[in-house]
Amino acid sequence: MKKLMLGNAAFARGLYEAGVTVVSSYPGTPSTEITEFAAEYDEIYAEWAPNEKVAMEVALGASIAGSRSFCGMKHVGLNVAADPLYTASYTGVNGGMVIAVADDPGMHSSQNEQDSRHHAIASKVLMLEPSDSAECKEFTKAAFELSEKFDTPVIVRMSTRVAHSQSAVELCDRAEPAQKEYVKDPQKYVMMPAFARGRHVFVEERTKKLREYAETSPLNKVIDNGGDIGIITSGVSYQYAREAMGNNASYLKLGVVNPLPEELIKNFCAKYKKVYVIEELDDIIESHCKKLGMNVSGKELFGYIGEISQAVVAEKLLGKKNDFTTFDGNVPVRPPVMCAGCPHRGLFYCLSKNKIRVSGDIGCYTLGASAPLSAMDTTICMGASISALHGFNKARGEEAEKSTVAVIGDSTFMHSGMTGLVNIAYNATNSTVIILDNSITGMTGHQQNPTTGKNLKGDPAAAVNLEELCKAIGIKRVRVVDPYDLAGTEAAIKEELAVSEPSVIISRRPCALLKYVKHKPALKVVTDNCKGCKMCLKLGCPAISVRDGKAVIDHTQCVGCGICSEVCKFGAISE
């Protein structure tokens, strides 16, 4: 049966059909749905780990135990999991182990545009790259075979357009490979220098074998249409090239992107007058070709930034441009915003109003950086809010301690914020950290996390008690506020900034999109009372706008959180 499936759903289907039994991941766009779909198969145990490093170690443990295992993450997640990856390359596997890493060319939902192929090269593991949903499934299954055959973790590189596009997939049955026997083997699995030296020799030999495999792998395909133009490409770039050039070019479509073949490439290049390399982000295939002495063109045409598309290929290779009509008039941008009723809004309003410096982090609350709240000074990577605040305060002293806070979400705090807080307590700055506890991992589409009391399957689970945790770390001043109570929240922030002690404020209220959250009826503006002062617009709630000089509330969006009525000095907003 053919089914329309998201690349990520097809990947999960591949995990199912390959007989995977253990999945541990941390969410991150565009990788998240692989694990969510995997969790729908009863035969697979699937969990959200607190971060990618933990997830990868869980998967490696399960592989060593003899089962087929998987972990998934976005590109920057692999930086967090790089430590286990580089040594898992040495230990190799027992049951097959596959890692999904999803790159985000164009940064639809990311803080940088790094190319995860560098990690595969540096850690010397096999990397495959599918170009549509059917391949997501097939490559995933192949990855498990190859993992076991070559004794290596295998990375399957996804990208936004492959992960989040649906195309037809043929479903197959699940294989049930027997669990491999576990035999204690310290020379393979205890990576202390004496044993690791031996494994490094193994890794280099494996790389040679993998390169030989790449020469003849069925995952690398030549589509020979004759002609003068050859295109070497992989992943979604292949689809762009194929759409733009059709049968007017020949293609070497690489499914194995690390290690890259040599003879295959040389033979392909020899056949065509002009050979182009079409790859998004870095020039990895192109440099490889050039190292082999091949005269190819790539980045001089396509650059290193953002996505390619069929239009870009057609323009660069054929000089073709489409005709189109533009709208006659200025079209204002529509940036993402916090939802109506978002619990983060009240807190950011208080920070904005008091012009407090904010060491920010990553989550829905990063939207607090946008106008009109504009209450964020830095955002770097998950967890950096707390550690960077400590550094900022060490550098600038008391003046900074009294006017700067860190903001971090509950999931992000569990991911990598806790260790920064340990540092604040241990190395003593009078820092003020605000944990935005909305009881969910919001930005990535509402995943459970260790603070929510539920696991990936939605079943009850142990919940971290944030207050007790912060106290155990050594923070004596820990308090909880309700961000819908603006006066209480503002007072707490001022008090904690003023004291000469480290403190944590937990701003607690569940995300407005959670199903169990009961909303109040929409509020209304009493037009006669409204003076048109626009104070309420400073909240940046998408449900409030001004028409003919008076505030209006969109009843289809408003969830009755009430903070606009707290802000209005004239009592013009009420139930």
């Binding site: 762009y240 189109f324 006659d328 008039g329 204002p332 915003v337 939802c339």
Partner: protein, 192 residues
């Protein structure tokens, strides 16, 4: 058959994902090769969102570029204006008359353009406009305006009604089936 391209544009949270899935399933059932490209993550928080639906004998690229869309289905007027350059010469626009102010308009830093639909028509583009929001409210929930618009689309294509009904049943949770079927019918009628 040459690949045909449909874009669905709107504001994050308006339900364009469901609309594109409905359309994708109808096209697959028609025997086409289909690709549907969605956007997840950040822009779903009230940003401008776009999904691409492409179908034909064999579809390669999942994305649609400027001047390539045969049809644009828009959930909101400003978004219709924003994505207009993606329409092919001779392409068609189906839009809801709903207006949602983006944050720069709310904060007074920009103005919501006036007479969007008239201006697009004046540019020589064939436009079908429907008050999808009111019809959705009539069906029982403002959130069903996505399915209302799919009804409008259905009225202008000749795919068997059964395919649409099957797709709705496949993509909508049973609890909301009745409501969505009603929304779909209202959309179909509005298009006539």
């Amino acid at each position: 058959m040459e690949t045909r391209s449909i874009m669905i544009v709107g504001v994050g949270g308006q339900g364009s994902l469901l609309a594109s899935r409905l359309l994708g399933n109808v096209l697959l059932a028609q025997g086409y090769d289909v690709k549907v490209s969605e956007v997840h993550g950040m822009s779903q928080r009230g940003g401008s969102v776009v999904t691409y639906v492409k179908y034909g004998d064999e579809v390669f690229s999942p994305v649609i570029e400027k001047g390539e869309a045969d049809v644009i289905i828009s959930f909101e007027q400003l978004e219709a204006a924003r994505w207009l350059p993606y329409l092919k010469k001779g392409g068609k626009l189906i839009t809801s008359t709903q207006k949602l102010d983006p944050m720069p308009v709310i904060t007074g830093n920009a103005e919501y353009p006036e007479n969007i639909i008239e201006k697009i028509k004046a540019a020589g583009i064939q436009v079908t406009a429907a008050d999808a929001l009111s019809l959705a409210e009539e069906a029982g929930n403002s959130k069903a305006s996505n399915v209302v618009l799919m009804g409008v689309v259905a009225a202008s294509t000749d795919f068997d009604d059964k395919l649409w009904q099957d797709a709705i049943e496949q993509c909508v949770p049973p609890k909301f089936l009745e409501l969505n079927k009603k929304a779909f019918e209202l959309g179909k009628k509005a298009a006539v």
